[in-house]
């Protein structure tokens, strides 16, 4: 039986060697509850709480500090071909001003990280990777580049995400023209008093919105200006997690890692068409064979019948009592109005509608396999 902590076991003292983002003082001023995340002091929630923050993002606009994530420019002759050896994405076919979701993969077909890559110019790319993986990711990339290619990390830049149905209208007040961007467009804007911002119409909530790479020195002042807009509220990591779970988006380290393949994870779309001709990238042959034979397990959505959340690590059984998988992310979906989860189950039990049992605190709770997302995406395509 999985053991939980007592009532206040989550409250930990922040060690002093945590890194901070340029918005640290603002988070504290806003009453953010700071926690350690990927080596940074980050707000898990503000005084209104995760539920209110989550719901606000789904109906208005929510501002997230994601400056802990890694940003870098990869540029030089041969950069694209060399990067393509590490990922299943088609970057040659990516037009300047567009970005795509991709994966760093292992030789055995696992996932080192998931990330966004934008085409800035003929030989220039902009990468945004997960905070917990950034040092390893950038070392991995740098180690595989030919002479003459540079990987420049942007540790002096902050990253803000403004998400929700009103996010783009709010942002366009500062960056006129941003409203004409389509989902996954990337464009640079000169924002008065802020400097050059690199903006992508994307996010991690399932909502429309933008991610804004911005000089660290002006980031807090700009965040204050955005927060002064009536539609905007600050959102912490707690609601970021519940929003992405409802959107069916995997979290690296929970739902995908070096032991899960893109095929099993339902990320086959990230293996672009051109790359399926040659499969000439890390783990490509393994993935090709897995796609041919069919994966033995699949990442699926899970909807408990009752009110009890089932957390990561929960064992999944079929109705005959056989163990068929494990939950990798689970909790409460404020917009879904109840518990939701995702996890891996045996491929022959992964069909939508399949009844399953979740082993929670030594009891078996009925649930069903369901399609994801739990809340429809509202991207501006």
């Amino acid at each position: 039986m999985s053991r939980r902590g007592g009532l206040c076991s989550e409250l930990v003292h922040l060690s002093e060697d945590l890194k901070t983002t340029p918005l640290d003082a603002l988070h504290r001023e806003l009453g953010g509850r700071m926690v350690a995340f990927a080596g940074y002091a980050m707000p898990v929630q503000y005084p209104t709480g995760i539920m209110a923050e989550h719901l606000h993002c789904r109906e208005g606009a929510g501002l997230f500090d994601v400056s802990h994530m890694g940003q870098a420019t990869l540029a030089g002759p041969g950069a694209i071909a060399a990067l393509e050896a590490l990922i299943p994405g088609d970057i040659q076919g990516l037009k300047p001003g567009r970005q795509r979701y991709s994966l760093f993969t292992t030789e055995t077909g696992g996932i080192l990280d998931d990330f966004m890559v934008a085409r800035i110019g003929a030989e220039e790319l902009f990468l945004v990777v997960n905070a917990g993986c950034k040092d390893a990711d950038f070392a991995h990339v740098a180690a595989h580049m030919p002479a003459g290619v540079s990987l420049q990390r942007h540790e002096d830049r902050a990253l803000l995400a403004l998400q929700g149905p009103k996010a783009v209208a709010v942002f366009a007040r500062f960056a006129p023209g941003a409203e004409t961007m389509a989902f996954m467009d990337v464009r640079d804007f000169e924002v008065e008093g802020v400097g050059r911002c690199r903006v992508s119409r994307s996010g991690y909530t399932g909502e429309d919105g933008v991610e804004i790479s911005i000089p660290g020195a002006t980031a807090a002042a700009f965040a204050r200006r955005i927060l002064a807009e009536p539609e905007v509220a600050p959102i912490g990591l707690g609601a970021r997690d519940s929003l992405r779970l409802e959107a069916g988006l995997p979290l690296y380290g929970n739902d995908i890692d070096t032991t899960t393949s893109p095929i099993e994870a339902g990320l086959t779309f990230a293996i672009n068409k051109r790359r399926k001709m040659d499969w000439n990238f890390a783990g490509g042959a393994v993935m090709r064979d897995q796609l041919d034979a069919g994966p033995t397990r699949k990442r699926v959505g899970i909807l408990p019948d009752g009110r009890a959340p089932a957390r990561a690590g929960t064992e999944i059984r079929d109705v005959a009592g056989e163990i068929i998988g494990t939950i990798t992310s689970g909790g409460f979906g404020p917009s879904a109005g109840g518990p939701i989860a995702m996890g891996y189950v045996r491929a022959d039990r992964a069909q939508d509608g399949t009844p399953i049992e979740l082993m929670v605190r030594g009891r078996s709770l009925p649930a069903r396999i369901v399609p994801m997302p739990f809340v429809p995406h509202r991207y501006h395509r």
Partner: protein, 124 residues
């Protein structure tokens, strides 16, 4: 006259005769955040001090609630199962969890009084 005492596990215990009413403290509900699920013990169950007897879940995480004393569960609060957020709104009142009938009330006196609990929270 009833008295209220506290545990280091952030529960409050109100004693009326040999009936103890147990809930979680205001501090605990604040630390947990929005509660979305509560599971309570079956009436009739005999519980021992420090035994995990109830569960509270916030959006983020699950936590155990321990029995603060030895006793038999005689009553639980269905209102918080129906509406877990009631614990957030009124942890020390309407948001109570369960009642225990105590065989022996002596252990109650060993629990923290209000000042000692406040000092414990401040030091944490």
């Amino acid at each position: 006259m009833s008295q209220t005492r506290y545990t280091r596990d952030h529960e409050w215990v109100r004693l009326d005769g040999n009936i103890a009413t147990i809930g979680i403290t205001h501090h605990a509900q604040e630390a947990l955040g929005d509660l979305v699920f509560v599971e309570l013990p079956e009436p009739g169950r005999d519980v021992a001090t420090s035994e995990a007897v109830a569960v509270v879940e916030s959006v983020k995480a699950a936590s155990d609630v321990y029995a603060p004393l030895n006793g038999r569960v005689t009553e639980t609060n269905p209102a918080i199962v129906e509406d877990p957020a009631l614990v957030n709104r009124d942890a020390a009142g309407e948001g109570w969890f369960f009642r225990l009938t105590l065989a022996d009330t002596a252990a109650f006196d060993a629990l923290l009084d209000e000042a000692a609990y406040a000092a414990f929270v401040d030091a944490a």
